[in-house]
């Protein structure tokens, strides 16, 4: 089959990134031609400021050298502009009079500096700051001349001014706004920045409007302000904004409104033509930062790479000024507005200012000056739209300092950690090792870091921290961590999207789900198969069939695999209560099958360790007890104290309540393991405060706590409600668990689910809406009604193929 011809106009970061995404999926799909008017390979435009400042060399910022194009069979037409698009013949014409035919055309022509239309703008010595050529001009000018004027006190203007100052020029910044960076900072932070830049010798004219540029012999000599003031200038850098390069598209009759208009699939008004990067207008927005470009590239790359259509829905951006020694950070709606709360810390003398904007208990904006070490964390909270209930009182002071107990999602101040700080406790990976791997191997995503270092690859509790180390190592320019995390490498859909599709499209098998959602692999991977299987059986109980081959070994053989590949067997002991007869039976079975150890578990039952796989079915038969699901992402145990039946402090029958709960929720699969406890009084001997659902009896009824966790990182359960009767305990607990079963992502514990949706949300669904509560509880009961005992279900005719070996 003849390859399709893909032509890319624009040899810059957005276009080449899109090609890289396409090639990742399918390296043979297209015959690719790139037309670029600059004479080199794709380089990192963001790093031009450090080059001007003398902090980096040109060769350091080349992203794709000419070998890259050759290796990937990409033809590069360099140093040659595209001059015309002929949509009827599907050809692009170049300045070298070549006509290059395309089946698909990608326009990524970027933007150009907006040149103020004032008299004298055409004089020599008046430039923008966009490419290598401009940077070289500035470096030469700095060596020959004295006076520079930068028009525009935005990010780019200040970086240019800073670089020229470092190169010995006398620099004046003319800014129309009342304070610097008024698109990124509020006035207070802007004033702090102004002070700091003035101390470095920059002259700043704020609220100043340029009237004309004056010159002699065709070369600029000065800038005249509307106030009449004349500022001498041998070099004028215009940095007042950018204009999308949309002329080619406009002339070809493609819809252009400021930028090239694209829809959420990055298609233009011509179905054969796509556009990405700074040249586009997406939902009325043109972006000038790198993160959105990369997100667009990913969406379009997937689509052109044959991995299904996705939507680009816009990007929340954050900014940072690349001026060494000045720390500022802003993201989102940093100015606040209606219905917003502001949390502010202001220490002008100390040069520190932090302003956080909160709406509906979620972080929507942040503006930091002087101390930006928590910027990445705030940005993470903002993109995750995380509920702030548990963080709000401490929010201004950064993430909880919980390194000692291997902090979870919130993570910590990665940048400030010493190199020998242990980031991943499971695999003993220190920050130094991470940073080295990130730098040497050029890692850009958390997944890559996991694969190479194993950090975060086991229990995963340090993932947030790993992400922060990554961010602080590769810098904010490359915040590649997507706000949407795909379920795994087999798909670009998120857990949420997959759950929704299964529900909306009534998908009941793994194969159908993978097909409907354009899975990139034939039968998934160890990450997605177990997740999909759970989503299917929890969404369509009784209808979707459990697929044992989509489960990891424990849930496939219904026992816990040990390091020597033997298994452990845990029968259920309702509420931790047993009997002499049951104990005798367990002892006999343990003897008969040569069990290596009998151990009391943390969940008040007995674990028989060292069992061979082929002995499992016979052991289950002889035990003749229910499966304890001690291996399961599902209901583990209900721990109880003795309660008022025996205990002199007991206020209620906690043992009986525990047994009732365990029987009600027996055989329940869930996104992750679920542990309950019932204590008979507030002394709480059953440790209900660290359970997914913890019940504490008081004289007048039962208190219900949710979202506790004893493992990885101890999380204290939140008080949920108080009820009077045992029936209510069942109904309320059942409804909470069913909500978790229906909405949580696979491998998300209750505490993390609660952190994501907020305790108030769970309350609104369960406490405030009685109809919904009863419906949830009914759905759980219905789902469990058809669920067989896992051990009994294994004893069928096909048990042999699963549990016995062959011989030669």
């Amino acid at each position: 089959m003849q390859k399709q011809r893909l032509v890319l106009i624009g040899n810059g970061m957005a276009g080449i990134r899109t090609l890289e995404e396409i090639l990742k999926h399918d390296k043979d799909r297209y015959e690719i031609t790139v037309i670029g008017d600059e004479p080199w390979g794709n380089y990192n435009r963001i790093q031009l400021s450090p080059i001007l400042a003398g902090e980096q060399k040109l060769k350091d910022i080349i992203l794709n050298d000419l070998d890259w194009y050759a290796e990937h069979g990409v033809r590069l037409v360099k140093g040659c502009a595209a001059t015309r698009i002929d949509r009827e013949r599907r050809e692009v014409h170049t300045a070298a009079s070549e006509a290059i035919a395309y089946d698909k055309l990608l326009i990524a022509t970027g933007s150009r500096p907006f040149m103020l239309p004032v008299p004298g703008a055409e004089l020599d010595g008046v430039i923008g700051f966009r490419d290598i050529k401009d940077t070289e001009k500035m470096i030469v000018a700095a060596a020959l001349h004295r006076h520079a004027v930068v028009i525009g006190g935005g990010l780019l203007g200040l970086e240019a001014a800073h670089g020229l100052k470092l190169r010995g020029m006398d620099v004046t910044v003319i800014h129309l706004g009342d304070w610097l960076l008024n698109r990124q900072l509020d006035e207070t932070a802007g004033r702090l920045l102004e002070k700091s830049l003035a101390e470095r010798g920059l002259k700043l004219k704020l609220g100043a409007k340029t009237q004309a540029l004056v010159g002699e012999n065709g070369h600029v000599t000065g800038v005249r302000l509307e106030s009449g003031e004349l500022i001498p200038a041998d070099l004028v850098v215009m940095a007042v904004g950018i204009v999308p390069n949309a002329d080619l598209a406009r002339e070809a009759g493609i819809e252009v409104s400021n930028g090239i208009v694209v829809d959420d699939t990055l298609a233009t008004s011509d179905e054969h033509v796509y556009a990405v990067g700074e040249c586009v207008n997406h939902r009325g927005v043109s972006y000038g930062l790198v993160a959105p470009l990369f997100e667009m590239a990913k969406v379009l790359g997937n689509q052109l790479g044959g991995c299904g259509k996705q939507r680009y829905t816009g990007t929340t951006t954050s900014t940072k000024l690349k001026v060494t020694g000045i720390d500022l950070f802003s993201a989102g709606e940093f100015m606040g507005g209606e219905n917003c709360d502001e949390i502010v810390l202001s220490d002008p003398a100390g040069g520190v200012y932090k302003r956080l904007i909160v709406r509906d208990n979620k972080l929507v904006g942040a503006c930091l000056y002087g101390d930006t070490s928590d910027g990445a964390w705030y940005f993470q909270l903002l993109r995750q739209e995380r509920d702030l209930a548990d963080l709000r009182s401490q929010l201004l002071f950064g993430p909880p300092r919980d390194l000692g107990d291997h902090g979870t999602s919130g993570a910590s101040r990665a940048a400030a950690l010493p190199d020998d700080a242990e980031i991943c406790g499971c695999n003993g990976v220190t920050k130094g090792v991470l940073v080295k791997a990130i730098k040497e191997k050029g890692l850009f995503t958390v997944d890559d870091v996991k694969k190479h270092t194993k950090a975060g690859a086991s229990c995963g509790s340090c993932t947030g921290l790993v992400e922060q180390v990554l961010m602080s190592t590769v810098g904010s320019s490359f915040q590649d961590a997507p706000k949407r995390k795909s379920l795994c490498g087999c798909t670009d859909h998120t857990h949420g999207e997959v759950r929704e599709a299964i529900r909306e499209q009534h998908l009941v098998t793994l194969a159908d789900t993978m097909k409907a959602l354009h899975w990139k692999t034939p039968d998934g991977c160890p990450t997605c198969r177990p997740a999909l299987n759970y989503y299917l059986i929890s969404t369509w109980p009784g209808e979707a069939k459990d697929d044992p081959q989509a489960r990891l070994v424990n849930e496939r053989v219904h026992a816990n695999v040990q390091k020597d590949s033997t298994f452990s067997v845990i029968p259920r002991m309702w509420g931790g209560v047993t009997s002499p007869a049951e104990l005798r039976k367990i002892a006999d079975v343990a003897d008969k099958f040569n069990v290596k150890m009998v151990k009391v578990t943390g969940g008040q039952r007995l674990d028989l360790l060292g069992v061979k796989k082929e002995d499992l079915p016979q052991m289950w038969r002889e035990l003749d007890m229910p499966c304890g699901m001690g291996y399961a992402k599902g209901l583990r145990t209900v721990k109880t104290c003795v309660g008022k039946q025996f205990c002199r402090f007991g206020t209620q029958d906690s043992t009986g309540m525990g047994i009732a709960l365990e029987k009600a929720f027996d055989r329940m699969w869930a996104p992750h393991k679920v542990k309950l406890a019932v204590s008979g009084c507030p002394r709480n001997c059953a440790e209900a405060g660290i359970k997914d659902v913890g019940i504490i009896a008081v004289d007048s009824g039962w208190e219900i706590y949710i979202g506790g966790n004893g493992g990885i990182k101890t999380e204290v359960a939140e008080f949920f409600t108080k009820v009077k009767t045992e029936e209510e305990v069942l109904e309320y607990s059942g409804a909470v668990l069913q909500l978790y079963r229906e909405e949580a992502y696979y491998l998300e514990r209750t505490v993390h689910y609660m952190g994501r949706v907020g305790l108030d949300y769970i309350k609104s669904k369960v406490l405030e809406d009685a109809t919904n509560r009863k419906a949830l509880w009914a759905r759980l009961q219905l789902a469990l009604a058809g669920e067989p005992d896992p051990w009994q279900a294994q004893l069928g005719a096909d048990a042999a193929a699963r549990f016995t070996d062959l011989t030669v």
């Binding site: 177990p530 081959q549 489960r551 990891l552 590949s565």
Partner: protein, 108 residues
């Protein structure tokens, strides 16, 4: 169909191995062999021993032509026995064939 000093033996029917699963073949005094069956009914034979910590690969999850070790998620190619980069290690492979619906293994 000679395979050096190896002897071809019929081991079982294809359906004796669960699809996307594995079955163990015990050998006297030697490492067990795991027979794998992929979704598209290809059959592979590897030592039932992960190069990392010796986990039983037969307990792993089979996807594509790869098995993920149940102990620490090392991914081993069924074609080559090679651990997927960046992990390192190799598990010996054995010759195996599907003749009609019977699985034949070359054992030494």
């Amino acid at each position: 169909m000679s395979a050096d000093k190896n002897q071809w033996q019929s081991i079982c029917k294809l359906d004796d191995i669960p699809a996307q699963g594995a079955r163990v073949v015990k050998r006297e005094g030697k490492t067990d062999i795991a027979l794998f069956r992929t979704l598209d009914n290809r059959v592979f034979a590897l030592d039932d021993h992960c190069p990392h910590k010796g986990g039983a690969l037969s307990h792993g999850l089979v996807y594509g032509d790869t098995v993920a070790c149940p102990l620490h998620n090392f991914k081993i190619s069924l074609q080559t026995g090679q651990a997927q980069a960046p992990d390192e290690g190799h598990t010996p492979c054995h010759k195996v064939e599907l003749r009609d619906d019977t699985v034949w293994l070359a054992v030494d």
